[in-house]
Subunit: 502 residues, 2 copies
Amino acid sequence: VSTTLTHSETSHDPRTGQPLGDRPDSPPEEVAEALRAAAAAAPDVAAAAPGVRRDWLYAVADAVDARADELVALAEAETALGHPRLTGEVARMAGQLRFYADVAAEGSWLGATLDPATATAPALARVNVPLGPVAVFGASNFPFGFGVLGNDTGSALAAGCPVVVKAHPAHPLLSDLLGTIAGEALTGAGAPAGTFALVHGFEAGTQLVLADEVAAVGFTGSQRAGLHLWRLANGRERVVPVFAEMGTVNPAVVTPDGAADLTSLAAGFVGSFTLGSGQFCTKPGLLLAPRGSGAAEAVAEALAPVGPMLTRTIAASVDSCVDALVAAGASIVARVPGDGAGWSAAATVLRADLADLRPGSPLLDEVFGPVALVVEYDDVATLVDALDALQGALAGSVFGAGPDDADLPAVVDALSHKVGRVAIGDWPTGVAWTWGQQHGGPWPATTDPSATSVGAAALDRFVRPVTWQSAPDTVLPPSLQAGNPWRLPRRVGGVLLAGDAS
Amino acid sequence: VSTTLTHSETSHDPRTGQPLGDRPDSPPEEVAEALRAAAAAAPDVAAAAPGVRRDWLYAVADAVDARADELVALAEAETALGHPRLTGEVARMAGQLRFYADVAAEGSWLGATLDPATATAPALARVNVPLGPVAVFGASNFPFGFGVLGNDTGSALAAGCPVVVKAHPAHPLLSDLLGTIAGEALTGAGAPAGTFALVHGFEAGTQLVLADEVAAVGFTGSQRAGLHLWRLANGRERVVPVFAEMGTVNPAVVTPDGAADLTSLAAGFVGSFTLGSGQFCTKPGLLLAPRGSGAAEAVAEALAPVGPMLTRTIAASVDSCVDALVAAGASIVARVPGDGAGWSAAATVLRADLADLRPGSPLLDEVFGPVALVVEYDDVATLVDALDALQGALAGSVFGAGPDDADLPAVVDALSHKVGRVAIGDWPTGVAWTWGQQHGGPWPATTDPSATSVGAAALDRFVRPVTWQSAPDTVLPPSLQAGNPWRLPRRVGGVLLAGDAS
């Protein structure tokens, strides 16, 4: 935080560290205007039928698809994540937007419930209503999937909330292009002015979280930044929920009988923890393998150079985090320098003793980058105790000897208490956007263990229920009216009835 | 908080202020043992089929019914709320316990979702799992409905979480009896030891909120106490959710055309705001009526003495709160001293100007007791602005001239943005425990605007979703196994399928 009045974000090419251009921070009056417009739009966005909001989101997705090449080129310049990955991620972003649109139109998330009056109870009609404007803080590491038009923005708009995004400084130029595309598409599809806005700069982010108009905050990023926003919001006069999805150590476990093909496992592990240069919130940072399996050596053998990091800060923190792991008792097994002249970081595998994985140890903290720890265990009982001592995490993996591996149930169960998602035989990286996804987890993986930022339930974060008692049809929202004009699935008299909106 | 090692709560007869007996506070080691037992029981309570937990809760409800007379007599001695009210409330408590049991068995709250694998996404299976031991802080004003075996305890047990209750000092002897009945009934029904425990004392409450074993907190009571617990939990190393349902000013509004039969309205208002001597979290503390309707005078006319308050502290605070309202610009229209020689408080109606209902004014703060404010408005636009300036509340009421009252939709809509429940033509007191109930509301009515402490969705507070990816049936919980052994409603491939567990 500086005290001068004009700030700007400088965009850089991570491959060279050279500047690509400047993007001035949004001045406070511009942020205030975006917030006023969002608050003014909120009733109309909320009142639009979910099928209407579906059309808005499809229009954004179509516009994104139409300009995919331009988006990928700009993202590649600012992030160096590579054309194949970025091309896939643009398609993912468009797919997510359409998915949240379809979930909105299906209507189960509204939870419409009608209890007719009885001899002892009045008629009650309950439905989820949008909270109001949502402030979204996009992530550095997924400029499309979790960026300006990522999961938080898609699910908040689908749920009927205007969105004001705070752009991530790792890709300000791409953020602007995404914001322009979204604004034009929404206007073209008939969404109210104020449905969407984009702002830049640290102070703008603080202003959003403290603004009266903001009803909820969605965040994807580091624990430090996420908890900062959570504390900020908890200090408001009217506290609002902050849904922060934060980086974690995502443990991967090999059962005693699962270590047969260790060469293949090690290659998979390296592929997963160095994906995107290790800049995944679901990166497996810890591999627990049977004593004597030679896992650390096999992983070291598979290690290869990774591309540049997203920012100078991230690149520098990789080294200092490795130092912290060594200071906490880990030893380096292998280290491979990054490729290129820019913000490179060394891919590193370390080894540590199971006994050192104690609550509070830096060995249990996330390293954001291509770094992982290998730890050997003696028996399943010790392994289960060790899992119990880990921090909450977004995801974890278990590799066994197939469905009949006798140790699999106990290990999967132990891991399920610490994570939002347990993958069996799959690496934790890769987060499908379907009905059954859970991208969240126990504290400190998120600030709300019941929330997900990916999947159909992502909409649930941005609504609250309201019940109308003894209400005539004339005052009820369409979702609760006798004729069910939105053709929603509804629970009537305790019985769930199918809808036919889709 | 004292520094001596032995404390106790003294039970009093509110009608006389005389002591009825002492109940020693639970020493720290006793609280720690209850927590250890709850944590040890948690896996078994969670693993029990919802239908099995239904039987446990029915056993508690049956035991409560069997000892209703004894419970009412003890509650009457400690609370002076009257036999008719307390008899009804015991039946309500038993009914709630059976309702949450039935909701658990129906199974929709589990949100079981199965996405088969596709060409681009792995198989995902998602279900809500119990959080673990829940600390419940019962309310003073509903010794049964929101007490030791009230909504929080019933819904937490139904959701598969062990419960440790911190008894309210306003009725320690009744709390013990309820705890004994529940413990015996649960043991008799086969629930694991540690499923339920009761502790006493302020320090015991602090110990619960800070305990590693506790995964969530349920609270019903004042804003001061609720926010204290919320801050305490937010300071933990592993932060846990606090679901605090707190007292609010619950506005009641009469539309311009709704003021025809003001005598009847005034009688209803007095009946509602003096119910239980005004000690309801849904008490309507503010009546907004058309200018010149004579509402304040009609309410004054209907005012009658109320019975004693629950505690000496509450009785004293009623007077000081009335002083604060007067200091903030209100004037007393009528005041009727309480009946009896004990902890009586005067029923009081005050008048204030609409212009003084500004954010931050004490006129917008709850008075817990038989006190209400009457404010007149000039037109509906002014009224809607005034509603917008109110604090968030649990409930509100609108009285119009029937379903065709032209002002009704705008007034109901404005109120719906500030409350969890809008009653049309009903007073806000009285909270049915059905599928469609919402007993919650925007900050500061609760610490979580999406939560309810009454109704089927009360269970949702005490679970979090976990997704299993690419998992064989051998590691999935019964809720997600291919054969659907619990016969749950489940969403499969995006389509909701009915269950048949009930």
